[in-house]
C-alpha cells in the first residue's frame, strides 16, 4: 500500500480500533473480568441512544453545548490574537505577563463558577464566559509564540514595501503564524468544551453536561456513558472542521 493510501485508510483504522476496544470490553464484562454494575455493556450504551434522542432532546442539547463551545472558542480566538499582538509588539509587556498567562492556562477557572454566576447570572452567558476565560490563555501563548518565530527577513520585506501596521498584521504576521494559531485554536476548543460541559454539569443547566448529571443521578449508567460519548462527538466534529480549514488555508508551506 502506498503512503497516501495509508493516509486515507488511517481514520478508518482509528474507528476500527475503537470498535475493537468496545468489543473487548463487552467480552470482558460478559466474562465477568470487569464488574458489569460499575461499567455498563457497550451494547447497552449503544442501545440507550434512541431513548436519549426521544426522551432527552439530545439533538437540542448537542447543538447547545456545541454552540456555546464554538462561541467561547471564537471569542478566545479574537481576543487571543489581540492580546498576542500586543505582547509581541511590546517585549517588556511580554516579559511581564507571559508567565501569568501561562499560569492562567493551568488554573482550574471552573472552580470559580459561583463568582461567574453572580456576575453573569445563571444562564448560557455564564457558561460561555467561563469557557472563553479558560480558552483564552492557550490562544494567547500560541499566538505570541507564532509571531515570535517569524523569520525577521519576512518582516523586513514588509517594511521595505512600506506596509501599514494593519497590512503587516493581516498579510505577514497572521499567515506566517497560522500553524501556531491553529494549534492555539485547537487547544481553545478543547479547553472551552471541557469547561462548558463542566459548568453545565455543575449548575445543572443547558446542554450535554446537565444531561450527564441527570442521568448519573438516576443511575442510568448506559445513558450517562452514551451522553459522554456525545461530548466526544462534539470535539470530533470541531477537529474535523478545523482540519479541513487548516488544509484549505495553510497548504504546502
Amino acid at each position: 500500500m502506498s503512503a497516501t493510501r495509508w493516509q486515507q485508510a488511517a481514520p478508518a483504522l482509528g474507528v476500527l480500533l475503537i470498535v475493537a476496544l468496545a468489543a473487548l470490553l463487552q467480552f470482558a464484562i460478559r466474562a465477568d473480568w470487569v464488574d458489569g454494575y460499575t461499567v455498563p455493556l457497550p451494547s447497552e450504551v449503544l442501545a440507550s441512544l434512541p431513548r436519549l434522542f426521544v426522551e432527552e432532546h439530545v439533538l437540542a442539547r448537542f447543538a447547545m453545548t456545541a454552540g456555546e463551545t464554538f462561541a467561547a472558542a471564537t471569542m478566545a480566538l479574537v481576543a487571543g490574537l489581540a492580546f498576542g499582538i500586543v505582547l509581541y509588539r511590546w517585549p517588556r509587556l511580554r516579559a511581564a505577563f507571559e508567565p501569568w498567562v501561562a499560569v492562567l492556562a493551568a488554573a482550574p477557572l471552573v472552580l470559580a463558577y459561583p463568582l461567574f454566576l453572580v456576575l453573569f447570572g445563571r444562564g448560557p452567558l455564564t457558561i460561555v464566559v467561563i469557557g472563553f476565560a479558560s480558552a483564552l490563555a492557550p490562544v494567547i501563548l500560541k499566538t505570541v509564540e507564532g509571531f515570535a518565530a517569524i523569520r525577521q527577513v519576512l518582516l523586513q520585506v514588509g517594511r521595505s514595501m512600506r506596509l501599514s501596521p494593519a497590512q503587516e498584521f493581516s498579510l505577514i504576521l497572521v499567515p506566517a503564524a497560522l500553524p501556531h494559531i491553529f494549534t492555539g485554536l485547537r487547544l481553545a476548543l478543547v479547553f472551552a468544551l471541557i469547561n462548558v460541559v463542566g459548568v453545565e454539569f455543575l449548575i445543572n443547566l443547558g446542554g450535554l453536561g446537565q444531561l450527564i448529571g441527570e442521568l448519573s443521578e438516576r443511575y442510568d449508567l448506559p445513558g450517562t456513558w452514551a451522553a459522554i460519548g456525545l461530548v466526544v462527538l462534539v470535539s470530533v466534529l470541531f477537529f474535523v472542521v478545523l482540519d479541513a480549514g487548516e488544509r484549505r488555508l495553510g497548504r504546502r508551506r
Binding site: V153, L154, Q156, V157, M161, R162, Q167, R252
Partner: protein, 264 residues
C-alpha cells in the same frame, strides 16, 4: 534637482554602540549610482556590505552621513527602491504568482490585472510553468528568482540586491548572472548589487566599488569597460581576466586580513 544622481550616498558611517560590540561597520562611504547604471559593491565577508544595504534601503539609520534618492534624503524605506535580501525571503504561504503579485496587491490592483503583470515578471526570471507552485516545492535558485521578480513587480527605480545568489552553487549562480544581464537589458534597470563574487561583479557591472575590511571603507572604484550587451562569452575573454585579476589584487589583502582577524 533633476540632474541629481538616482542614488547618492554621502559620507555614510555606521557605528554599533558599545552594547552591540562597539564596532564601526561602515566608515565614511561616498558614491553615487546614475540612472541606468549597474554598480556592484564587493568586499570580504563581514566588511559591512549588508549594513550598507540596510541603510540604503532605509531599514537602518546611519550614524552619520546622508543617503538620497533623486536628491531627496532617505529617512525610511523609499518607494523608489526595491530590495532583494541576502536571506531567502519568499512568503511560504503564497504560491509563486501570488508572491510576485504581492506589491501589486498592496497597490490595490485587481486580481486579473495583477496576475497578468506578475506573469510578465515570472517569464522574465524564467519561471513560466511554476506559477501555482509553493516556495517549498522550488529549489533555492528558483526561490531567489521569485524574490527578484516580486521586487521587480513593484517597478522600483533602483533595484538593490544583497548577495542574492550567495547561497547557491557555482553553476546556478552563473546562470542567474545571465538572467540578471537579460533583465538589465530588457528593463534598463538601475541596479546596485552587493556581492562577494569577483566574477559576478565583473560580468554584470558598469562599475565595481571595492570595500575594505574593518573599518568598511570605500577602497577603490573600478569602471568595467566591457561591451554590452554581454553574454556568458565574456567570461573567457582576456579583458575579463584582467579585471578579475585587478580586483582580486585589491581584495586579497582585505580578505586575508579578515580571515586572520576571524581566526585570531
Amino acid at each position: 534637482m533633476t540632474d541629481a544622481a538616482l542614488l547618492s550616498v554621502s559620507r555614510v558611517t555606521k557605528r554599533y554602540g558599545p552594547r552591540n560590540g562597539g564596532l564601526t561597520a561602515v566608515d565614511d562611504m561616498s558614491f553615487a549610482v546614475e540612472r541606468g547604471e549597474f554598480v556592484s559593491v564587493i568586499g570580504p565577508s563581514g566588511c559591512g556590505k549588508s549594513t550598507l544595504f540596510h541603510i540604503i534601503g532605509g531599514l537602518t539609520q546611519a550614524t552619520e552621513g546622508r543617503v538620497s534618492v533623486e536628491g531627496e534624503a532617505i529617512t525610511g524605506p523609499h518607494p523608489a527602491i526595491g530590495m532583494v535580501f541576502q536571506e531567502e525571503s519568499c512568503f511560504p504561504w503564497r504560491n509563486v504568482i501570488d508572491n510576485v503579485a504581492f506589491p501589486l496587491e498592496l497597490a490595490g490592483q485587481g486580481r486579473a490585472s495583477r496576475h497578468a503583470t506578475a506573469q510578465g515578471f515570472i517569464d522574465l526570471v524564467g519561471l513560466r510553468g511554476f506559477e501555482q507552485r509553493h516556495p517549498s516545492e522550488l529549489s533555492g535558485g528558483m526561490r531567489q528568482r521569485v524574490c527578484i521578480a516580486r521586487t521587480l513587480a513593484a517597478r522600483p527605480r533602483l533595484l538593490l540586491m544583497d548577495e542574492p545568489f550567495a547561497s547557491l552553487d557555482e553553476q546556478t549562480r552563473m546562470l542567474l548572472g545571465d538572467k540578471v544581464l537579460q533583465i538589465q537589458q530588457q528593463l534598463h534597470q538601475t541596479t546596485l548589487l552587493i556581492t562577494h563574487s569577483i566574477t559576478e561583479a565583473v560580468q554584470l557591472s558598469d562599475r565595481v566599488i571595492v570595500m575594505s575590511y574593518r573599518p568598511g571603507r570605500l577602497k577603490r572604484t573600478l569602471a568595467i569597460n566591457l561591451p554590452r550587451p554581454r553574454t556568458a562569452d565574456i567570461l573567457v575573454s582576456p579583458e575579463f581576466g584582467t579585471y578579475v585579476a585587478e580586483l582580486w589584487n585589491d581584495l586579497r589583502q582585505e580578505a586575508t586580513r579578515g580571515l586572520a582577524e576571524a581566526e585570531g
